[in-house]
């Protein structure tokens, strides 16, 4: 029997596994809600020997992992084992509450953005925040921020960055994929400036955008260089966060993508490929269809989560792009959450066909959210599991 990691690697490389890997991600608030619906906390609490996530240390003692729905539902997490490179701003901004009243709390995040959360949410830290201020507004603020984006900063790698130990740890980790995670230029810029300012800046100050893109390429390549050149194809996949589309379509036009992003993307994916890493998965919500030709040209080789509400259809993408893109997700969360016939219809309309075509791992088209009742999710899990094995 293949391990979850072997299954995942087989699928993203268009090989046939013994069973499809079922890949999900859960909002923590969903788990809290499910406890209220009868899920026993003891069933999900995991204590085990585990390698640390987030790039700070190798943990070598038993750790209370908190709630692990993946073992419980027998699916696997999208976020398996991370290569510990810190591609955030260094030093981080000091996370702190800036102001609050009866209804809202404004928090300075570690990336320098100010985000607002509603206090009335049952679980304030899990509620979706809104951003009220961003650290980069123009050239002057960009220049100041750039000081935190030095790829050579030794703090980008763990203090115990002992390559052989990590190589061994990655080999031993079979519960999920080993991945290197960083942000694409759109995701990077939107996070620094906010979507409205960033998208308009391509017109208002194209020179600044070229400079930022140039720095993104330099920063990303040099920050990950040591890990990439050491670990090479032990890295199963690059997780390229982008989120560059809305329901109607991409937030930037193909013309902007071609001019400002594509040349840099080609060089970064070229560097990865040269080191044996050619599985590069873009994480983006929204309708990406108008950009897919360019995404492929950029050297990106996979997409997740293919949001159905934004007209993404894995079968059409597979037919058009063949094995140029591996695909994940695309099961309509709205239909699955309804349960019964709606859920079964959604699974049946996609999973068997995509399983046959290859290069696809099923899952909800984004994170499992609070509209799922525990009962409906169990029903979906049981039904989908019946589709996974190749017989």
């Amino acid at each position: 029997m293949m391990t979850p990691r072997e299954r995942f690697k087989a699928v993203i490389n268009f090989r046939k596994p013994d069973a499809l890997p079922w890949v999900e991600s859960f909002y923590d608030e969903v788990l809290l809600k499910w406890f209220g619906e009868g899920l026993r906390a003891e069933e999900l609490t995991v204590i085990e020997w585990e390698m640390g996530r987030g790039g700070t240390a190798l943990l070598n003692w038993p750790a209370v992992k908190g709630f692990d729905p993946y073992s419980y539902f027998r699916c696997q997490s999208m976020l398996g084992c991370f290569v510990p490179v810190d591609v955030g701003p260094i030093p981080r901004f000091k996370l702190r509450v800036l102001r609050e009243d009866d209804r809202y709390v404004d928090i300075l995040s570690e990336t320098g953005a100010v985000l607002r959360r509603m206090k009335r949410e049952a679980y304030i830290w899990y509620s979706m925040p809104t951003f009220v201020e961003f650290p980069v507004k123009d050239r002057k603020t960009w220049e100041a921020y750039k000081a935190r984006l030095n790829p050579e900063d030794p703090r980008r790698y763990p203090k115990d960055w002992e390559k052989d130990a990590y190589l061994k740890a990655f080999e031993n980790y079979q519960r999920g994929n080993t991945l290197l995670r960083f942000n694409g230029f759109y995701g990077f810029g939107a996070q620094l400036m906010g979507i409205p300012t960033f998208t308009v800046m391509f017109y208002k100050d194209p020179e600044l955008m070229h400079e930022m893109a140039e720095h993104w390429e330099y920063f990303t390549t040099e920050a990950i260089r040591d890990a990439v050149e050491t670990l090479r194809d032990r890295i199963d996949m690059v997780f390229w966060w982008e989120d560059l589309a809305e329901k109607h379509g991409p937030c930037i036009s193909p013309k902007i993508y071609r001019e400002f992003l594509l040349p840099h993307y080609k060089r970064v994916t070229g560097f990865l490929r040269k080191n044996g890493i050619d599985r590069v998965m873009m994480d983006s919500d929204g309708n990406l269809n108008p950009l897919l030709d360019l995404v492929v040209e950029a050297g990106i080789t996979g997409i997740w989560p293919l949001e159905v509400a934004s007209n993404m259809d894995a079968i059409s993408v597979r037919k058009k792009y063949g094995d140029k893109l591996f695909l994940g997700g695309n099961l309509d969360k709205r239909e699955l959450a309804k349960g019964g016939e709606s859920m079964r219809r959604e699974v049946d309309s996609k999973v068997p066909a995509l399983k046959e075509m290859g290069g696809y791992f099923p899952g909800v088209d984004h994170l499992v959210h609070a509209e799922f009742s525990l009962q409906r999710f169990r029903e979906y899990a049981e039904y989908l599991r019946g589709h996974l094995p190749y017989r």
């Binding site: 979706m128 925040p129 979507i195 998208t199 017109y203 329901k247 109607h248």
Partner: protein
């Protein structure tokens, strides 16, 4: 002074050319310096500020909206065109007071209680203003009674309700129900927007429509006020 040296017919022709250029410049999302130049040129040619808005800026913005709907333009072009028009309106605003522009209608909008997201709402609000609507934007996390109070204070014919989150959709129904109870439902069209809404949902809660994007929302508002 330049206009003094040419005849009336030539002036009319010039101003038509200038307004066409202005509409084209906005429609093709060229740089803001050129938009301002054309606005100033139109003013120097004696074109009424109202005409600059109607026959230049709005016509250009209509082109942008159409190109967005047909997939030629995307959010970046839509937002930048909005910036171009807003900057031009800043120049024209003091002059518009003397020659009142035609008001297309009045809209009250806001993000419903429990949700503090506003990017989509702000794009819609901007497009409505550019299209000539008087917009009362109540912001985010707006209670049902606040919407109803503002509708009572204005002669708004459209109420726009936005939410990104699925768990705040019931708030939209609460507003529609309260609107019905207030006796104003027959004079107010209710438009839903935001990532969490669908046309089916609009039907379920008794709203008039759900717009899948901001441009579609503005077109619906225009159609509604034309029928009034």
């Amino acid at each position: 002074m330049f206009a003094a040296s040419v005849g009336v017919d030539s002036m009319v022709e010039m101003s038509v050319n200038t307004l066409d250029s202005l509409a084209k410049t906005v429609g093709e999302v060229e740089d803001s310096g050129r938009v301002k130049d054309l606005v100033n040129r139109a003013l120097s040619e004696g074109v009424a500020p109202v005409d600059i808005v109607e026959r230049g800026l709005r016509r250009g913005m209509d082109t942008v909206g159409k190109k967005y709907e047909t997939g030629e333009y995307f959010l970046s072009e839509l937002l930048y065109a909005g910036v171009l028009v807003s900057e031009a309106l800043e120049v024209l605003k003091p002059l518009l007071r003397s020659g009142r522009a035609e008001k297309k209608g009045v809209i009250v909008i806001g993000t419903v209680r429990g949700d503090i997201h506003d990017i989509g709402k702000n794009v819609f609000s901007m497009l409505c203003q550019v299209a000539g609507f008087e917009v009362h934007d109540l912001g985010v996390d707006v209670a049902p009674e606040t919407f109803i109070k503002k509708l009572g204070e204005t002669d708004a014919g459209v109420l726009g309700l936005s939410t990104l989150l699925t768990n705040t959709r019931p708030e939209m129904k609460a507003v529609v129900d309260m609107l019905r109870q207030s006796g104003m439902r027959s004079r107010v069209k209710v438009l839903l927007g935001g990532n969490a809404v669908t046309r089916d949902f609009a039907g379920e809660i008794g709203a008039d429509a759900a717009a899948l994007d901001a441009v579609e929302g503005v077109e619906l508002c225009k159609r509604w006020v034309e029928r009034r």
